[in-house]
């Protein structure tokens, strides 16, 4: 019984160790994507350094140069980038 509990605990720790980098990687991927999107719209930013998820396909992005943008998919299927103060 003790062995079984130990194995469960081990599996849980391994799962947690794998899960944390995965979500961190997701965030990095999202930041990279938003960085590209902002650049594609020709807006100043540099790199996106912070992202806040507002809703599905709706983000608040903070750039390394201090700019902030609301990046979202509108009803017509267009990606919009609005500067925020």
């Amino acid at each position: 019984m003790n062995k079984l509990t130990g194995r469960w605990a081990q599996s849980l720790i391994v799962a947690m160790l794998l899960a944390v980098p995965a979500s961190a990687q997701d965030e990095e991927t999202l930041k990279k994507d938003l960085t590209s999107v902002i650049a594609l719209h020709g807006k100043p930013c540099g790199q996106v350094v912070g992202v806040k998820v507002l809703a599905d396909n709706d983000y608040a992005a903070s750039c390394e140069d201090g700019n902030k943008y609301h990046v979202y998919l509108n009803a017509e299927g267009r990606v919009m980038v609005d500067a925020q103060k």
Binding site: D33, L34, S36, L40, R78
Partner: protein, 157 residues
């Protein structure tokens, strides 16, 4: 008795124009001087002498479209943004072909080149094959867009 000199082994780099061969895409580098005579049965050397440039870029729009959809080098939002911008350009091209002269073709060409540059800059590090396919198809795609008849037949959904 027979002074006729035998023709050289035809190392002419360019291929005959009308043969539609969706061969493997060429790399974008315009430098490869001469490919060794791979298809040496070509006897149209006289016309080939006039076109010393690189072989015409192969174009498979469907495959290119699929590659763009599948690539992991571009994030989903960037893909949508690029599609939005491509759709905008196609809309302007359509208006141009319908007779609206306002953005002249040179401006449209500039927009197209800019879009291709954006695309290349996004994929060139993480998806070299796609980058080279895009670069190789660049002129051929523009030829499709700029020709009103070919443009009308494009499936741009």
């Amino acid at each position: 008795m027979k002074p006729a000199a035998p023709a050289p082994a035809a190392p002419t780099p360019s291929a005959p124009p009308p043969t539609k061969k969706p061969a493997t895409p060429l790399p974008p580098k315009s430098a490869p001087p001469a490919t060794p005579a791979r298809e040496a049965g070509d006897k149209t050397a006289s016309s080939a002498a006039k076109t010393p440039g690189p072989a015409p870029a192969p174009l498979d729009l469907k495959e290119l479209k699929q590659e763009l959809k599948d690539t992991k080098a571009i994030g989903i939002f960037s893909k949508i943004t690029l599609k939005n911008q491509m759709d905008d350009l196609l809309g302007r091209m359509r208006k141009y072909h319908q007779g609206q002269p306002n953005p002249p073709l040179t401006d449209l060409r500039r927009s197209y080149e800019l879009l291709v540059m954006k695309l290349l800059s996004l994929v060139q590090d993480d998806d070299k094959k796609l980058a080279s396919d895009i670069a190789a198809s660049r002129e051929a795609i523009w030829a499709l867009l700029a020709d009103p008849k070919k443009f009308a037949t494009l499936d741009v959904s």
